[in-house]
């Protein structure tokens, strides 16, 4: 199948990227891994289950601050521990918030998630004694697989071991998500998206399924969020602001939420686009708004939708 080929080619390209020697582009790709994982989660919630969250940035920020707290306050530097802690933190916060949110759908779900996101943002900003307030919290360089890689400078670390580690986490996350989506559980979620009433009728516990999707999405969001601030070395409250959630949805839409690879493609394109557009004009927000509008109106299936259409047209 050409899909497998495309994925393999993409993976190959990603793996070879840092070796091509352009340090800057390699470091530019690093957020892509974090966002890719977070978006896999968001896609489960929106693409598969049909729930649009405007507060996903909450979990991304939660993961980032978990990494910050563990490294700079508790001295825990093993990235494996950090990622697991982020996953747990995501699940712990997602359970109560999810219980409240999944009782509602569509607009109400969106609004409730936005409110929770902003609540977390206010908390991060105001309780500076705990969170560092607007200054944020430091994220120290973690140990990968038990090794500190001290002989590597930070840039070498980022474009080397850390790059491949993040790639591995993304691939792992994708494999896990693939399994989830293809499982009976995933099937149930899709049934709920199509017609919740009918799904209930066929014995699917709608509420429980939605909550599970919400928690899984949160876990992915937090794990992605934990990877995100490592290149920067700082977790700041803006990670939780509602416009950041908006950007996550933008990426998802850009890539195509109906497709499994959509979110990852969306993250990639968004990052590259942002870099390019920002160098061309200072009014890049306008350009991005226009792009989003065009995608929403003309290409709601996103880039993967476009590719699908072309593929189908070709055959």
């Amino acid at each position: 199948m050409s899909l497998r080929l495309a994925v393999a080619a993409a993976l190959g390209a990603l793996a070879l990227f840092p070796l091509a020697g352009r340090d800057y582009y390699a470091t530019l790709m690093l957020p892509f891994f974090g966002y890719g994982i977070a978006l896999l989660g968001l896609n489960l919630l929106f693409g598969t289950t049909g729930l649009l969250s405007f507060g996903h940035a909450l979990f991304v920020a939660l993961g980032a601050y978990t990494a910050a707290f563990l490294t700079s306050k508790l001295g825990v530097l093993d990235l494996e521990v950090i990622l697991m802690a982020a996953a747990v933190a995501g699940a712990v916060i997602a359970l109560p918030t999810g219980l409240l949110c999944v009782r509602y759908v569509r607009i109400y779900f969106g609004m409730l998630t936005l409110a929770f996101g902003m609540l977390f943002y206010s908390f991060l900003l105001k309780f500076y004694a705990v969170t560092g307030g607007d200054e944020g919290m430091r994220v120290l360089r973690p140990r990968l697989l038990g090794l500190a890689w001290t002989s590597f400078s930070k840039v070498e670390f980022l474009t080397g071991p850390f790059y491949y580690y993040s790639l591995a986490v993304l691939v792992l996350g994708a494999v896990v998500m693939w399994r989830i989506v293809r499982s009976p559980f995933g099937l149930g979620l899709r049934a709920i998206r199509e017609n919740a009433g009918k799904a209930e009728f066929t014995g699917v516990d709608v509420r429980r399924y939605r909550l599970s999707a919400f928690v899984v999405a949160a876990v992915f969001g937090a794990v992605g969020g934990a990877l995100l601030p490592i290149p920067t070395g700082l977790a700041d409250p803006l990670l939780a602001y509602w416009t950041h959630s908006g950007n996550l949805v933008f990426m998802l839409l850009l890539g195509g939420f109906g497709n499994f690879f959509g979110p990852v493609l969306g993250a990639f394109v968004f990052i590259v686009l942002q870099d390019q557009v920002m160098s061309i004009t200072q009014y890049w927000r306008f350009v991005f708004g226009a792009i989003l509008a065009v995608v929403v109106v003309f290409f709601p299936q996103g880039l993967t939708g476009l590719l699908d259409r072309r593929q189908r047209a070709g055959t």
Partner: protein
């Protein structure tokens, strides 16, 4: 950039001199590649006006430098990237360092950005001359001994100067104080410094209310009401952006400006918005390092003010000075290091060494970098007056204090230093 006749003539003269009198140098000049200076400037949101101000100071410096032949014979090229949130700004910084291959990067205003960019500058061994963004507490934790990062003046310097002026002018006249500051490090540090200095001077003041509106807030009706209820003798505010005039407008409308003394440590940054209509006389107001009508203004400052007013229909503020200073300091350091290296273009490390302890003429007067990479400058504050030909307040008399007086020396904690004063 040739923007007026004077510059054009200068360039012409320079070109004529180069081609006519110094034929042996001309080929070298023609071959010398331009030196790229990266600039991180805020373009949107509440810090945007400050970012723009910094860009203007940068442009003014670069225009003059290029008109005079560049830095050690190389023309200056600017590469401007936007300063936004810390994550994106760090990426922009890396781009300037790795992709654009800027030889020095200036800019940086917000504290979170400053904290994030500092370590990156060290990691990449990229020379960074910040305009602002320094919170000593945070920076001490991230890079205690910076090599490549040069930081701005301590963020409490303004509060220190304003507090000293307050103690001098209002000793015995003030019993209760209130603070309304932005709820972030700058606001908190300024208020804390103020209270500590009041105590040191034996002012015996009691804080009756402390308000912490978030940066970007535009509605202070509730805050003003809280101030009215508390009836303080003095209100201290470190507002530095669009919120300063809004606060005064709403305070004035509620009658607060009659009878209450105001201390506005940094409102001079938006001095043109501090209109006479609502800003009282007798307030202590700070302009950071640039006061546009300083009585002993240097010819350079006068030229800049005039150029700024003609070009932008606005009077300049302090960020232009910090930005101008970073460019001019870099030039001086490069030329000094180049001479020491026998005429070759210096390495980054050699430039760093030359920058430490350097002194140059900037818009605000002579200023420089300490050996611990912190800026030195002169700060301008004073008592507001309506006696001028503008529609906004100015200060008279203008007090000038150097950072040697209002900034803690390297290696000391702020409060230890304050305690050590003899008053």
């Amino acid at each position: 950039m040739i923007t007026n006749r004077r510059t054009f003539i200068k360039v012409l003269a320079g070109a004529a001199a180069a081609t006519g009198a110094r034929l042996d140098v001309a080929p070298a000049l023609a071959q010398a590649a331009p030196v790229r200076i990266g600039v991180l400037a805020a373009k949107a949101g509440v810090t945007a006006p400050v970012g723009e101000s910094g860009l203007r100071g940068t442009q003014f410096a670069v225009d003059r430098i290029n008109a005079a032949g560049g830095i050690a014979g190389r023309k200056v090229e600017l590469a401007v990237e936007e300063e936004s949130n810390p994550k994106d700004t760090v990426e922009r910084f890396r781009k300037l360092a790795l992709q654009t291959k800027a030889e020095v990067i200036t800019g940086g205003i917000s504290t979170a950005v400053g904290l994030a960019v500092g370590p990156v500058s060290e990691e990449l061994k990229a020379l960074w001359l910040a305009w602002d963004a320094t919170t000593q507490k945070g920076v001490e934790e991230t890079i205690p001994k910076p090599r490549y990062a040069f930081r701005s003046v301590d963020n409490e310097a303004e509060a220190v100067m304003a507090s000293i002026l307050t103690a001098r002018q209002l000793k015995g006249k003030v019993k209760t104080v209130a603070g309304i500051n932005n709820d972030y490090s700058y606001g908190r540090d300024n208020w804390a410094a103020f209270l500590a200095i009041m105590k040191k001077f034996g002012m015996n003041v009691t804080p009756v209310v402390e308000l912490w509106p978030k940066l970007g807030e535009t509605n202070f009706t509730s805050h003003v009401a809280a101030l009215q209820q508390a009836k303080p003798d003095l209100v201290f505010s470190s507002f530095w952006s669009g919120d300063a005039p809004i606060l005064m407008k709403q305070a004035h409308a509620a009658g607060l400006t009659q009878g209450t003394k105001f201390v506005l440590t940094t409102a001079g940054g938006v001095h043109e918005s501090m209109k006479k209509a609502f800003t009282p006389e007798g307030a202590i107001m700070g302009y950071n390092s640039l006061y546009f009508e300083a009585p002993n203004a240097s010819p350079l400052l006068r030229e800049f003010s005039k150029w700024h007013q003609e070009r932008f229909k606005e009077w300049p503020n302090y960020e232009s000075d910090h930005a101008y200073f970073t460019i001019v300091a870099y030039k001086a350091a490069v030329e000094k290091a180049s001479k020491a290296a026998g005429g070759k273009w210096p390495t980054t490390e050699q430039t760093v060494e030359a920058l430490e302890g350097i002194e140059v003429e900037s818009l605000s007067g002579r200023r420089g970098y300490r050996s611990d990479h912190i800026m030195e400058a002169s700060y301008y504050q004073g008592v507001t007056t309506h006696k001028n030909r503008h529609d906004f307040v100015t200060i008279d008399p203008v007090e000038v204090m150097s950072t040697k007086q209002i900034q803690k020396p390297s290696g000391t904690g702020l409060y230890d230093w304050i305690n050590s004063w003899s008053v």
